[in-house]
Structure formats: C-alpha cells, structure tokens
C-alpha cells in the first residue's frame, strides 16, 4: 500500500512543475502574437526598437495576470481533479479490495462447495465400488454355479466315459475272449511246438547221452540204453502223439460243432426262404387263377348273352319298360331242360319271346373252364330302349 501512495504523490508534484513551465513559456510567446503583421526584410537589417504604448503594457500585464489567475484556478481545478482522481483511485482500490475480498470469499465458498462435491463424489464412488463389489460377488456366484454345472457335466462326461469304458471293456473283453480263443489256438500250437521242441531236445539229449554212453559204456550197455531210449522215445512219442491227437480232436470237434451249427443255420434259412418263395408263388398262382377264372366267367357270360340276344325276337308293338326274369336250368353240354318265368312282364307275347329266346339258344355256349358251369342261370330280359 505505501508504494502506491508514493507513486501518487510523485505524480502530483511532477504534474505541478510541468504546469508551471508551460505557463511561463506561454507568457513569452504572447508578445509576438500581439504585434501586427509586417513584411519581413532581410536579416541583415538591423533591429529597430519599437516604442509601445503604456496602456497597452498595463493591459497586457492585466491580461497576463488574468491568465495567471485562470491558470492557477485551472491548476487548482486540475489539482482538485487530481485529488478527485486520487479519491477515485482510492475508491477504486477499496472497491478492488472489496472485490478481492469478495473473490476470496467466493473462492472459499467454491472451495467449500468443491470440497462438498468431492466428498459426495467420494461417497458415490465408494457406493459404486460397493455395488461393483456386489456385482462381482454375484458374478463370482454365477461363476461358481457355472463351475458346478461344468463339474456336473464333467461328471456326466466321466460317467459317459465310464460307460464308454465299460463298453470298451466289454469290447475288450470280447476282444480278450477272441484273443483267448486265438491264444488257446496259439497255445495249442505252442504246446505242439513245445512238445516237438521237447522231443527235439530230448532227441538231442539222447544223442548226446548216446554219444557219451557210446564213448563210455560198452556195446551191450549201448544196446540196453538204446532199448531204454527207444522205449522212452516211443513213450514220449506216444504221449506227444496222444496230446497232439487230443488237441486236434478238440479242435476238430469245435470246428465240426461250428460247421454243424452253421450248416443247420443255413439249412433253416434256406428252408424258410423256400417256404416263403413257395407261398408267394402259390399266392401268385391263386391270383392268376382267380383272374383267369374271372376272365373266363366274363367270357362265358358274354357268350351266353350274345347267343340269347341273337335269339331274342322281341314282339313288335310291345309297350316300353317290360321286364321278364326267368330261371333256366341247363345240363352239362348246355342243353336247356327247363325255363321258368319267375317274374313275368304281364305281357304274354313278351314273356313268350323271352322263353323262346332261351330255348332257341339251347344248347347254351359252354365255359372254357368246366368248373364255371352253373346248372341254374337267371336271365333278366329288359330291353335297353
């Protein structure tokens, strides 16, 4: 604050001095202004002193005094103005201070507000965090569930795998069984080989023994040994043979059993197929025969119709709509032995024409298939028009 005052004072002093200097200068210059205008000659011309009127000087002095007064007044005015300006500046400064204070107050307020909102934010953040945490917990729970489901699935998968394993095991057991059968077969082979090997080895041993005996014992001993050997060999051979035969017999038996079962199965299948084939053929034959019979029956009826129609002379001038039914008896060969009107038309001429038509048609045509022959026939005579 002090430096500011200092500056203000300095400024006022300086201004006062400047004002005085300027006033002096103006006084000097005012002389020229009052003289009338004369043409200037050259500079070489000597300066001539001019006499001035006394009243004029006094007036001029008065004028200067007035000007001085005016100047002073203006100076005072300016000083007052300056004073006012200073007041104004002070006022301004106060207002500035006030403003600053206000600013500071506002800043404090803002800070307070800021602090408040910051707290709020912090609280909200904390809350959000809590929510996030909860969410997280839920997600974790979900995850656990998923994991459990996964584990269930895993268990099922394991169960499936176990089932598969069982199946595999079964398959394996089957394979194993197969393998065992194979093994048994191989075993039998091996056994056979082993026996052979044994025999071979025994032979080798025997040979060695023989050699050794030959080398050591006498010919008699050798003979005895030979006999013993032969016996042993025979026995071994027999045993081996027996074993081989047993194995073979067993194998053969199994094979035969299999073949027999297969043959039986085949036979049964063939028999069934044959039976089916026979049934189909029989059905076809039956259908064919029925069709043939139908055809032949239609043909038979058609022939009878044609014959009777040809032989039927309907009476002229007979009324329309007459109908006559007759029962006809024929004997094998088609000879008509009896015609009985079962339902007459009521018109004698018409009914007679019907009877005559049948009798005229005797012998009736015969069916190609004798089994179609029917002793009794019913004829319905009814003209189409």
């Amino acid at each position: 604050m002090k430096p500011r005052e200092l500056i203000d004072r300095f400024t006022a002093t300086t201004l006062a001095i400047i004002v005085h200097v300027v006033a002096l200068g103006l006084i000097v210059l005012s002389l020229d202004y009052s003289t009338p205008g004369t043409p200037h000659r050259s500079q070489a011309e000597p300066m001539k002193a001019v006499v001035v009127d006394e009243s004029q000087v006094a007036e001029e002095l008065e004028q200067i005094k007035k000007r001085e007064e005016k100047k002073r007044k203006e100076e005072e005015k300016r000083a007052r103005s300056l004073e006012r300006d200073a007041d104004k500046a002070r006022q301004q400064r106060r207002e500035e201070e006030k403003r600053l204070n206000e600013l500071q107050r506002r800043l404090a307020e803002e800070k307070r507000q800021h602090d408040l909102s910051a707290r709020k934010q912090r609280e909200e953040a904390a809350k959000a965090l809590a929510e996030v945490k909860q969410q997280r917990a839920r997600e974790l729970e979900e995850l656990k569930k998923l994991k459990r489901a996964e584990s269930d699935m895993e268990q099922r998968r394991l169960a499936d795998e176990a089932a598969l394993a069982v199946l595999a095991a079964q398959n394996q057991a089957l394979a194993e069984e197969k393998r065992k059968i194979e093994e048994a077969r191989q075993h039998a082979d091996a056994e056979r080989k082993r026996v052979e090997e044994q025999a071979r080895r025994a032979t080798a041993a025997r040979e060695a023994e023989e050699k050794r005996l030959a080398a050591v014992a006498a010919a008699a001993a050798a003979k005895a040994a030979e006999e013993t050997r032969k016996r042993a060999e025979a026995e071994k051979k027999r045993q081996a043979e027996e074993q081989r035969k047993k194995a073979e017999a067993a194998k053969r038996k199994v094979e035969e059993e299999r073949k027999r079962a297969e043959a039986e199965q085949r036979r049964k299948q063939e028999e069934a197929a044959l039976r089916e084939q026979l049934a189909v053929e029989q059905a076809q034959l039956d259908a064919q025969s029925a069709r043939l019979r139908d055809t032949l029956l239609a043909e038979y009826i058609g022939q009878i119709q044609a014959t009777v129609n040809r032989n039927w002379i309907r009476p002229t001038g007979a009324a329309k709509g007459l109908k006559c039914t007759v029962k006809v008896t024929q004997i094998p060969g088609g000879e008509v032995v009896r015609v009985v009107i079962t339902k007459g038309s009521g018109n004698v001429a018409f009914d007679r024409s019907v009877e005559n038509a049948v009798l005229r048609s005797s012998p009736l045509p015969q069916p190609k298939d004798p089994s179609l022959f029917t002793r009794d026939l019913i004829f319905e005579f009814e003209p189409e028009d």
């Binding site: 009777v308 032989n311 309907r314 001038g317 008896t329 009896r338 005559n356 019913i378 003209p383 189409e384």
Partner: protein
Amino acid sequence: MIEKLKLRRAPLLIAGAALLAVSWSATSNAALTIKITQGIEGAQPIAVVPFGLQPGSPPPQDIAQIISNDLARSGRFSPLPASDLPSRPSDASTVNFSDFRILGTPNLVIGKVNRLADGRFKVEFRLFDVFRGVQVTGYELEARPDELRRIAHQMSDIIYEALTGERGAFDTRVAYVTELRAGETSSYALNVADSDGYDPRVVLESKAPIVSPAWSPDGTQLAYVSFEGERPRIFAQNLATGTRQVIAAFPGLNGAPAWSPDGRQIAMTLSKDGNAEIYIMDIESRRLRRLTTGAAIDTEPAWAPDGKSLVFTSDRGGTPQIYQISATGGAAKRLTFEGKYNSRATFSPDGKSLALVHGDKGTFRTAVLDLENKALRVLTKTTLDESPSFAPNGSMILYATSDAGGGALAGVSTDGRVRQELAAQQGDVREPAWSPFRQP
C-alpha cells in the same frame, strides 16, 4: 253254327315231362344272373303247315293259307314260307320238333280237313311250342263249305290270343262303300266283307251316293248317310234282316253318324240350325241335344270308349283340327296342333290314342295321335288316305287309300310296321269302317 271242340293235349311228351321232373330235383350251384338287353324287335316266327287233306275231296279254301295271311297281316307274326318247311306233318304223332327247332321257329301250326258225310267239313288244328315240344292249344271245328274262311279266321284268333294274350280280331268284318262308274252314271254299294276283305256282301245298292257307314256296338246294325231323294239322310239298317229306318232327315245336312258305346245314342252333324254342328240323338226317343255352337263347321264326331266324351273335326281355329268335348257339352279342347289339317279322328279301343287323317303339303296320311304325350305318328306313305278305323283289338288300322285303280282298302299295324292292301274290290272303295268284335 260252327261247332268248336277243344282238342286235348296229346300225351306224347310224357318223356319230356319226366326229364323236366328229374332236373327239377337236381341240386345245382348258385345261379348266375345274366342280363339280356338287346334282342331284335320283330315279328315272331311261326310255321303254318298246309293242312292235311283227304284224297279226292279237297275243301274250297286253303285254311292254312288264310291263317298264315291273317297272322302276317297283324304285323305280330312272320309265317315261314311254305317252301321253307322242313316237313309237313298233319298229325301230332308225326311232328318231328327238331326239324323246326333247327329253323329257330318257336311256333308250329298243323291241321287237317276231313269232309263229312253230310257235305260239311271237320277242320282240326293244333298249335305247338316247338322248343318245349308241347301242344299249346288245339281245336276241332265243323262247318259248311261256305263257312270255311270264317273257320280259318276263328283259328287265327285262337292262335293269336294263345301267343299274344290279346284277343284276335280276324273274325270280324269291315263295311265300306264302293262306287261303280258306268259312263255318265255311277252306282253305289254299301258292302260288308271279312276283315281280310274277302267274302264281300252288298247290304245296300243305290244310284245316289252313300257315305259314312258306322257300326252299332253290337255289330248288328249299320248307320250311314244316303243321298237318296237328293238330300242326305241318316239311316240305320239291320244287317241280318236288311230292314232300315230313317234316323235323321232334318233340313240341310244330316251326316257323320256315330253310335255311342252303349248303343243308345247316335252323335251326328246337322245344319238344321244354320251351321254344321254336333248333335246327340237318343235313339229311342229321337230327342236331339246340341253339343257344339259357333260359326265354325263342327263335324265327324266319334265317341270315346267310355262314352264320356267325343272328338270331332272343327275349323274354328282356321284350319280343320281335332277337338274334344264332353258328352254333356261345354267347352271343346283342341287336341291336334301339328300341321294344317287333321280330321276324321276315331278312338283306339283302349282310348289312349286317336287314328286320324293328317294333311301335310298336299298329302293325306293315316296317323296316330298318342293322347298321353301328344305325339303324332304318321303310319303310311300313301298320299290320299281317308276314313281310318281301328280293329276292335287295336292291333291294326283300316283305311281307304287311292291307288291307280281308285280307292282301295288297306290295313296298317298300329306300329306302322306292316302295311298292305286288302283283297281287291270292284270299283272305287271308300269310307271303310271296322266292325266291333262279334257277339258270342
């Protein structure tokens, strides 16, 4: 006058009957049903074998030929030509049915004629069912030589009825008028002949025209119009006695008599009241009842079989057409609408149709109008037919038609299938009328 003795069936077919009996009892499989819908409409074949004759005394008539012609004329039968006969048996015992079966002829007529000591003839005939080999019917009749034609017609009636179930109309008569021209003059005769036109007998001769003969329902009288005395009068004449009486002699026209079915009335055309109208006269009282009125000509009345109505010809519609009116009078109903000319209608015996003359483009032909469906059927191909009348059994229509020699008698079966002229007559034949059945 003619003795008729029914012949018993010959016992020759006992064997056949036995066979039938056997088949009767025979069991058989289920019967097959066969429908027959075609056939051929036609006359039924029949073989009429010439009758056996006694050597040395032939009868004056060929009985079998008369029977054969009768049956053929009916249109219902087709007799085998004599030349086609496989055998000619005259006794039942000599019939070989298989001969006729081969021909497919279901009916066979045989017979014989024997002259009796008194000059009469004994005629015997039998009708056989060829396929069954059985006799259908058989009769023995005795007759004078002049009765032989009639005997033959009677046999035709018996055969016809046995085979069709309908009464035969061969033993009936026809009345007709003949005109004989000799130079400038003509003579007229009213005749009655057998239904085949044979044996004509004149019942009236006149120099004046005779028209419109009409039979009494019992067949004993003929009513007719005669112009004797220069004006037409209606007479009724007893055929047996020849006596006659005047029925109507009113001023003007007296014409077209028609007996009522009960024979008590005669319908006629009179112009006594100025215009030709239909009247009905009670014969006993001679009282007249006028049936029609009006300015038109009404004529040619004919009774319905039930006697309740009449048909007549009238030009009230501008052209001659047939109308029907109640016997008690009243309004007349027009029946014909086809063509510009329909006249001379008569009822069929069953009352279901009319025979009439139908004019068309200058031709006049015999036609039948079915009263039920109003269908008109022209039966003939001739050009100038007149006066059609039904046989009493309705099987044929008799009419007069113009041929080269003038008018002639002709017959046509009601289905139009068989048309033929009857026995040639002397002169120009007109106005035929078929008699009723003979009274027993």
